[in-house]
Symmetry: C2
Subunit: 115 residues, 2 copies
């Protein structure tokens, strides 16, 4: 059970989580890469509403924050993949948890977000 | 345990969660209100890096998304408070979960985010 008074340290923890995942597509990128969609073109097709430029920027920020790393294969045609770091993998249960919240309240939320 | 293949429904749940909390201060606003900081001026003091205008916009979006409601007290001086709805309260365990992730990886994240 959670308590009414939130310790300062968790306040800071929330800030750190939001620093990492805040950004329109970041959680989706992490989730997609986790589920095996690892190449830039595949990610773009998975998230067609995002521009390639925005995706590239968010991927770079996720690399800078230690969540992803980029693998460039030394072959032709030129091939790039993104992979989760150990820290990135540790985010997956948290993302699953919040996604389950969204799923549990899906009907209500879809109604509220549309209107 | 989570599985490697993520069901489509959870993909949607993640999108719904992000729709609700994406926004620089939203998770902090929800958390602050939950911890008893309910008046606009108090929220502004709690989050001094946010402008009042941005906070007002994000509070309004959280109301539109069914997370908060606003109470206007019929007295002088004029008094307003925000309160979590039932849906908003259901977000607290999810926010606690992700905040714990941030706290568990605090040293690593503070280092990465600074640089």
């Amino acid at each position: 059970m959670y308590q009414k008074k939130i310790p300062v340290s968790l306040d800071c923890g929330l800030h750190l989580f939001m620093e990492v995942v805040n950004g329109k597509w970041k959680a989706n990128l992490i989730w997609s890469i986790y589920s095996g969609i690892k190449r830039p073109g595949e990610l773009q097709r998975k998230l067609p509403n995002a521009s390639r430029r925005v995706l590239d920027t968010q991927l770079k920020q996720l690399i800078d924050h230690g969540i992803l790393y980029k693998i460039t294969f030394d072959e032709l045609p030129f091939k790039v993949e993104y992979e989760l770091t150990v820290l990135g993998k540790s985010l997956i249960p948290a993302i699953m948890y919040v996604a389950q919240w969204g799923e549990d309240h899906r009907a209500e939320l879809e109604n509220l977000i549309k209107t």
